[in-house]
Amino acid sequence: MVELHLIILFMIGASIIAVEVKDLLSGVVAIGAVGIGLCMAFLILKAPDLAIMQLVVEILSLIILVRATIRKDIPFSVSGRWVFNTVGTICFVAVFLTAAYVTLKNMPAFGECLMKVSRFYIGNALPAASSRNVVASIIVDFRAYDTMGEVAILFTAIVGVLAIARGTGRSKEDQ
């Protein structure tokens, strides 16, 4: 678990850099470092499905963000109500930590799950769904309606983005 803690510390440091740095492109690169650290944490926790997904999505979003920020730089403003902001942040952190402590105290320990639902999946993935990858069998076979809802959400998001970007996005030579 030492390497997991090291990676989590690296991610926390990179996200603080991403928030605090003045240059927008440096912030985007720091966000990419956070994503790669999350991918390695998934690999250490033995979830290669999620690690592949995180790596690929991270690459695509990094390309889009770099493409969007490479030519322009937004001026950074730190003036304003810093007393209110600091007090609000401290209050929020205190509430979050208290709620997290109360919640995490009642959860089962890390690595010792209750195995009520997952025992069914592990037992039935090979005979019922003929799949060696339990995650894929849950997504595609046991919970196909769930996947359909997920794809419907994605489709709606795509349609929304295209509808917003359409009016000014088309130019005459692209028709």
Binding site: L60, R67, A68, I139, F155, I158, V161, L162, G169
Partner: protein
Amino acid sequence: MINKGYEETGMTLIVKTVTRITLGFILLYGVYIAINGHKSPGGGFVGGVIAALSFVHIMLAFGKKVALKRLHSHTLRISISIAALIFLFMVMGPWRERYVHIVMPLLEVAIVGGGLFAIFVALVLLSKSDKDAE
């Protein structure tokens, strides 16, 4: 050749040559991960994102005109919509037990890959700074 008549747009010659070689392999790897998701880590979503990355690769290396000529924006939208309808029919319909392992990841590749590439295209076409630069 992909970049016939557009030699001046996009990145340098080295990047274009490497892109021309690796493009098919990236697309093939995306489809492999999608179809083989039942036996090894992966799945339709990841394969779709890799397929979108291969087209993003063309667009970054050769410029947006070549990429849009290869995969037109209108064709992209129609294919996403048809894939979504087939997906709905696949899950709701009577023959969901039969070919769901092969067809569902491929449809997810079409929806996710086409959708993310369409969003990328829309963002690139929307940005004013590119139009000023060209």
